[in-house]
């Protein structure tokens, strides 16, 4: 679906993106993770055909991004981090307008509004919408022309837990339909939950690229933490891979003196810091 070969780009004489290479399969959720200024937005602009002065090759669905015509956008949906609607128009009016710009009009607006629970607010002005409602509506706008490729920029940013979960469910529904999804986020928990693979982007380059599970397992060893009582409450820990060698734990288990026990894996955030030396959150 996407093949990036030797991609380099610069806004000035100083290189900004340098020799980037990666490939994304059809139907994948692929995450771009990185701190502000790392090159994520620039990369998204290149992939969506807004920056065409790059070196190397970027082929999205077989089309070289710098050589696209406007039909290219019939197959791409972009959900921005912020609302991109006419605030004085209603949700329905906005969706009808943006839908009318595409040749492919397969989606019924009332039906998709109902899918995301906004059917009763369809005739309300967008300026009267809450942040969560605007986010859902914005996501819906990206789906109006039923694109095969979705670019999602911080889709859960600023949402409460319920709306955040709703958004993640909607993203997974799109994946289930076979869409290829590019997710740009600072949120490591979302990336771990949603992405098939993630790329850590720092200083215009990819520092690591793999599935969240593999990155976590490759870089960090899972630990077992346990507490027990010995005059006062104590904490013990050992590596999961060496659990049979922990005699204290073995004795505690034999004597039924363990107060609590749980395994602890490093998070994607821990791995990001370890790989890049930078923090996101």
């Amino acid at each position: 679906m996407l093949t990036v070969k030797n991609l380099s780009f610069s806004y000035s004489k100083k290189p900004f993106i340098t020799c980037m290479n990666f490939h994304v399969e059809r139907g994948e959720i692929f995450g771009f993770l990185g701190p502000s200024g790392a090159g994520k937005t620039t990369l998204q602009k290149i992939l969506t055909g807004l920056i065409t002065t790059y070196d190397g090759s970027v082929k999205l669905d077989g089309i070289e991004c710098k050589e696209h015509d406007n039909h290219f956008y019939e197959n791409i949906g972009v959900d921005f981090e912020y609302s991109t609607m006419y605030e004085k128009l209603t949700a329905r009016q906005n969706l009808e307008f943006f839908s009318s710009l595409y040749a492919k009009q397969t989606v019924k607006i009332d039906e998709i509004l109902a899918d995301i629970g906004l059917q009763n607010d369809a005739d309300k002005k967008v300026s009267d919408y809450s942040k969560g409602m605007k986010s859902r509506l914005n996501f819906l706008k990206a789906l109006l022309h039923d694109p095969n490729i979705l670019f999602l920029d911080e889709p859960t940013s600023g949402l409460d837990p319920a709306n955040s979960q709703l958004m993640k469910d909607m993203i997974l529904q799109q994946k289930a339909k076979g869409k290829t999804i590019f997710l740009t986020t600072h949120n490591m928990a979302d990336a771990t939950e949603l992405c098939d693979r993630v790329a850590f982007i720092v200083n215009g380059g990819i520092k690591a690229l793999d599935s969240p599970h593999n990155l976590i397992m490759r870089k960090g060893a899972a630990k077992v933490l346990y507490t027990y009582y010995d005059k006062h409450e104590r904490l013990g820990e050992c590596l999961l891979s060496q659990i049979s060698e922990d005699n204290v734990l073995a004795n505690l288990m034999k004597e039924n003196r363990i107060l609590s026990i749980h395994s602890s894996e490093p998070t994607l955030n821990d791995i990001f810091i370890e790989v890049t030396g930078r923090t996101l959150q």
């Binding site: 602009k45 969506t48 055909g49 807004l50 920056i51 406007n70 039909h71 956008y73 019939e74 791409i76 972009v78 921005f80 912020y82 609302s83 991109t84 609607m85 006419y86 605030e87 004085k88 128009l89 009016q93 307008f97 943006f98 009318s100 710009l101 595409y102 040749a103 706008k141």
Partner: protein, 226 residues
């Protein structure tokens, strides 16, 4: 057709944001003024009114329109849609031209002008020029203050020569395209075909510049202050 949808979308946007309401008020005010002017002044007064307001409204309103679209990030969405920059420019130009022509028709009718078709054609062409100039300026700014500063020299260039030409129609000044517009509106054109051709040439050049400016704006979108 996408261009029709874009034009209808722009008209809807302009209606919702009160542009039509403002122009109903302005038209009422101008009609009132035309009635209180002595009859001998009426023809020159209506020419100045039509040239300086309905025809030139694009220069006043494009800043507000583009800044609203920038602040509501609508342009970000349009930039990644199948809409071409030239379609965006055409839609803005046609939608504002329709209001210009409607207001101009009311004023010309009330003032009893005999050359209404010429007035409407000149209004339409001049409106396109001012809208394109406004759009080119608006693509480069991030606040209304910047827009006002940027369009001040344009206003001098676009308003003073035609105003002088209306009262002192010299031969040399007839080659200034916007003087041709004033001459068509005031029914004093010595060569209507030449005047219309000059306006069309200016429009074509401005369309090309506006298209490039819009493309550049779409590629470098950012936040704005209103």
């Amino acid at each position: 057709m996408r261009i029709i949808k874009l034009i209808l979308g722009d008209i809807h946007f302009q209606f919702k944001y009160g542009f039509y309401f403002i122009y109903i008020l302005f038209s009422a005010l101008y009609v009132f003024l035309l009635f209180i002017f002595p009859e001998t002044w009426r023809e020159k007064a209506v020419s100045i009114m039509i040239y300086s307001d309905p025809a030139a409204m694009g220069l006043f309103f494009m800043g507000a329109i583009v800044l609203l679209e920038k602040s509501q990030r609508v342009l970000n969405a349009l930039a990644v849609s199948p809409v071409k920059a030239i379609e965006y420019v055409i839609a803005k130009t046609i939608s504002l031209m329709l209001i210009s022509v409607l207001v101009s028709l009311v004023l010309a009718f009330v003032a009893g002008l005999r050359n209404i078709p010429e007035v409407l054609l000149a209004t339409a062409l001049t409106s396109m020029i001012f809208t394109l100039l406004g759009l080119i300026a608006a693509t480069k700014i991030n606040s209304l203050n910047q827009y006002i500063i940027m369009t001040a020299p344009l206003e001098l260039i676009c308003f003073i020569p035609p105003a002088i030409y209306l009262f002192v129609p010299s031969v040399i000044m007839q080659w200034y395209p916007l003087n041709g517009s004033m001459a068509l509106i005031s029914n004093s054109s010595r060569n209507p075909l030449r005047d219309i051709t000059m306006l069309l040439i200016v429009i074509i050049c401005l369309f090309m510049i506006a298209q490039r400016a819009t493309m550049k704006m779409w590629k470098s979108l950012g936040g704005v202050k209103l």
